[in-house]
């Protein structure tokens, strides 16, 4: 019997991205294993969001490849990528402000997927008790933290195997940031792979197994969180403190 090669859940290899003439990503490569939380670190404008958007097919890549669970998803339509089990929580949350909490969840709902945890509104309300108390509130009338929770819950309704979280701790109260760390640990326990983009090193250290640092559209460092802690000069060179 042929030996099955161990594959990463998510594999980004050598992708490029342009906005008009300006090159935003240059030869970005990294991977995320099943059940692993990887932090994509970098300053504002380093290319973190664009990396995620490229993985989701929202920005087209002219080079390299993105594979998810063994098959290429590069430049596929976003909805196809999502249907394969890759969830995306955008920065600024992008809640449907006119829709209620329940309706927002309904938009994210997908069929059950083999090998991925199944989420229902009830199960999500256990994870995010606040949301359960405001099922019929329009998204526009929620606080930033509540919207962030809703945005994650909405994506989980698609029963993803892996999830991209774009700056989940940005612009929310410290107490909610703690809850967010707890949430990410809970997702990891459910077996999800998580790619997390962050400027906040402290938050990333709480929840991540590994770190990938990007600067000016290129990967400058990859290693475990512990290695990063042992080399403060790397942190000082690429991250705002």
């Amino acid at each position: 019997m042929p030996v099955k090669r161990v594959q990463s859940m998510l594999d980004v290899s050598g992708i490029n991205a342009f906005y008009g003439q300006a090159q935003i990503l240059d030869d970005v490569s990294f991977s995320v294993q099943a059940g692993e939380v990887v932090a994509l670190l970098g300053r504002n404008g380093a290319g973190k969001s664009t990396t995620m958007k490229t993985m989701m097919g929202m920005v087209k890549s002219t080079a390299g490849d993105v594979t998810f669970m063994g098959s290429s998803i590069k430049n596929l339509p976003s909805h196809t990528i999502c249907q394969k089990g890759l969830g995306y929580v955008p920065e600024e949350r992008r809640i449907f402000t006119e829709l209620t909490v329940m309706e927002n969840l309904e938009v994210g709902k997908q069929d059950e997927r083999d090998g991925a945890p199944l989420w229902t509104p009830e199960k999500l309300f256990e994870l995010f008790p606040n949301l359960g108390e405001m099922k019929n509130r329009p998204g526009g009338q929620m606080s930033g933290g509540e919207q962030q929770m809703l945005s994650i819950a909405r994506t989980l309704m698609g029963n993803p195997s892996a999830i991209l979280l774009d700056e989940p701790s940005e612009g929310i109260a410290p107490v909610i940031v703690e809850q967010m760390a707890f949430t990410i640990s809970a997702l990891k326990k459910e077996g999800l792979a998580v790619l997390l983009s962050e400027q906040n090193l402290h938050f990333a250290k709480l929840v991540s197994d590994r770190a990938v640092i990007v600067e000016k559209g290129s990967v400058r460092y990859q290693g475990t969180i512990r290695e990063l802690e042992e080399h403060p000069e790397i942190r000082d060179a690429y991250l705002a403190v």
Binding site: G20, M56, M58, P77, S78, H79, C82, Q83, Y88, P90, R94, F96, T97, E98, L99, E103, N104, E106, V107, G108, K109, Q110, R154, T155, G158
Partner: protein
């Protein structure tokens, strides 16, 4: 008392039919952001198809209503077909492209309808079982009107349930706000949009089909209804179905009672109400402030290009050719050249406000017509001479632009475009309905040039002088500090405001300037034709201007010149044919889909840089 009640019920019945059309338009706009002129064609097809189905099916109640439903569904399928083949290619295009493309569809469908059903109006049957009238307070009210009064709210309820109680409706409402996000959550946008088009077109078809017992199916139905439908959608708030209902009732009643009080200006009333609503509530009665629509913006505007020595010489050569043309061409060609020159100035003035100005105007014919009517009325009532007439024309157009522009620059995007359209419709309605003064449909005749300019050749030179003067002036303005501020404001309103430029005032002045030059074109036009009719102010004249700008391409100052030239030549060529609309519409669609950067842009791709020039940026580096 009974009479007023009867009038009120008539208003409600008309409102129902209007609501069906407008709600479909609103739904399609809400999700796809396409301002769909062809929606009026869907309405017309609904009426024609219902006529055909009623003929085919067994007569009686079932046959009639079966035909109505079959016609609506057939129109829905036509909408789906158009969405898949055309509309989905232009979702990300600028408003100009979308509008012109949908107008191309209007032309094609008009000729197809002419070919299938003929030019005669087709009178449908009365609805079986609802032929009679009921007496209410002594006034006879047609039973069918009562049925329509019930149908409107029933459809409103159905659409409301569809939008608020089904997964489909939830997805549609989500996509109205952020389509990219909906897609990232695993929803196939294309399929969603196609289904939205189906629902919207079906409603338009239903509106047309139920109108059949009240109004003969005719080839004029499409543009007649679309103006009112736009008004309703804008008053109600784009994308809001309950808003469309409210506005339909408002407009229906306004028409029913307005005709008693001001029979001369019923058409104006609707547009006046719309203008007032847009000023007080810029997003309509039940609309919500336009959320920033994500994932929908077009490519950024390219910088303008400077002339190269070669292209400058070519232009000088062209000018020279135009100067000697009357000596080598026959009189017919000279007249055609005069037309081309006049429309070139019209197109350049429209391009100025749309390209460098960044304000989408769907009603530029208003200023062309104001100029023409201003001069013609002065000649008719005051007997002024040609030179005074040519001075009056831009002044009147400029004053019109000053008034309308003040309102228009307060809005942006599609709402701005709709308000400019409303302004044009107001001027058209006045010219059309105020018969005592403007002569109405008969127009104003006998506006001839002065003795010394009555020769075709002399008038041609006069036109050439004024048109070149105008184009040169506009070009200078674009490269003057005022033009820089304008273009900067188009690209980033916030930054321009932040460095101390009052953008609204700049845009207002640009609007007036564009109006003034359109007015000069209008003045020249009326003296070259000797007459003026309301048609020169109608939607189709505004669209002509847009097609010229589109043909030439919006990102080039030469574009409108090339556009006006090719448009006028093409029009001259095809309008002699029986089915010219289908050819014309086909050409428009071809350009929108194949060469969206216009003829000038298309040529630029093929021609060497030596000829096409550099961008300002490239020239500086």
């Amino acid at each position: 008392m009974g009479f007023y009640l009867a009038q009120f019920l008539t208003g409600l019945a008309s409102a129902s039919s209007l609501f069906l059309v407008a709600s479909g338009l609103s739904i399609i706009f809400g999700v796809t952001r396409i301002v769909n002129f062809a929606h009026g064609s869907f309405f017309m097809l609904g009426a024609y198809l219902a006529y055909t189905f009623v003929e085919l099916m067994p007569h009686g109640i079932l046959g009639f209503w079966g035909s109505v439903i079959a016609a609506s569904l057939a129109v829905g399928l036509i909408g789906v077909l158009l969405e898949i083949t055309l509309f989905r290619r232009i979702y990300k295009a600028p408003e100009l492209f979308q509008l012109v493309a949908t107008f191309g569809v209007v032309l094609v469908i008009q000729d197809l309808a002419l070919w299938i059903w003929g030019a005669e109006d087709l009178f449908g049957p009365r609805a079986p079982g609802l032929e009679g009238a009921v007496r209410i307070l002594g006034e006879p009210i047609p039973q069918y009107d009562l049925a329509l009064i019930v149908l409107g709210p029933a459809v409103l309820l159905g659409v409301w349930l569809l939008f608020n109680k089904t997964r489909w409706g939830t997805l549609v409402r989500a996509a109205t706000q952020d389509r990219e996000m909906v897609s990232a959550l695993g929803v196939n946008q294309s399929r969603l949009f196609t289904s939205v088009f189906f629902v919207g077109s079906t409603l338009a078809g239903l509106g047309g089909a139920v109108q059949l017992p009240r109004e003969a199916a005719s080839l004029l139905m499409d543009l007649n209804v679309i103006g009112e439908a736009f008004v309703v959608v804008v008053i109600g708030g784009m994308g809001s179905v309950p808003g469309a209902f409210l506005a339909s009732v408002l407009i229906g009643e306004l028409n029913a009672f307005g005709i008693l009080v001001f029979p001369e200006i019923t058409l104006v009333l609707a547009f006046l109400v719309m203008a007032v609503v847009l000023i007080v509530r810029p997003w309509g009665l039940l609309g919500r402030p336009d959320a920033v629509l994500r994932g929908a913006s077009g490519p950024p505007e390219e910088p303008l290009r400077l002339f190269t020595p070669l292209s400058r010489n070519l232009i000088l050569g062209l000018v020279g050719l135009l100067i000697v043309a009357p000596f080598i061409a026959d009189e017919f060609t000279v007249v055609l050249l005069t037309d081309i020159l006049i429309f070139t100035l019209f197109a350049v003035s429209l391009h100025f406000i749309m390209g460098p100005g960044g304000l989408v105007s769907f009603g530029h014919a208003a200023y062309f017509g104001l100029g023409a009517y201003g001069a013609a009325l002065m000649v008719k009532y005051l007997g002024i001479g040609m030179i005074s007439g040519l001075v009056v024309a831009p002044v009147v157009a400029g004053i019109g632009a000053l008034i309308f522009g003040w309102f228009c620059v307060r809005l942006s995007g599609v709402y701005l475009a709709m308000l400019t359209l409303a302004a044009a419709q107001i001027t058209w309605s006045i010219a059309f309905q105020w018969q005592d003064v403007t002569g109405g449909d008969d127009g104003i005749l006998g506006i001839w040039p002065a003795e010394w300019a009555s020769d075709k050749m002399t008038y041609y030179y006069l036109t050439l002088l004024l048109v070149f003067g105008g184009i040169y002036f506009i070009r200078r303005v674009v490269y003057a500090p005022f033009g820089f501020a304008l273009r900067a404001g188009r690209d980033s309103a916030l930054r321009v405001e932040a460095i101390g430029i009052n953008l609204k005032t700049q845009q207002w002045m640009a609007f007036v300037l564009a109006g003034v030059f359109a007015g000069i074109a209008g003045g020249l036009y009326v003296y070259s034709k000797g007459s003026i009719f309301p048609d020169e102010l109608a939607i189709s004249r505004s669209v002509d201007g847009l097609v010229m700008v589109l043909l030439g391409g919006i990102q080039s100052l030469l574009g409108p010149i090339i556009g006006a030239l090719s448009f006028t030549l093409l029009e001259d060529l095809v309008t002699r044919l029986d089915y010219w609309r289908i050819i014309f519409g086909g050409v428009i669609l071809f350009i929108v889909v194949i060469a969206p950067e216009g003829l000038a842009g298309f040529a630029r791709k093929l021609l060497p840089d030596r000829l096409t020039g550099k961008t300002e940026e490239e020239a500086r580096s």
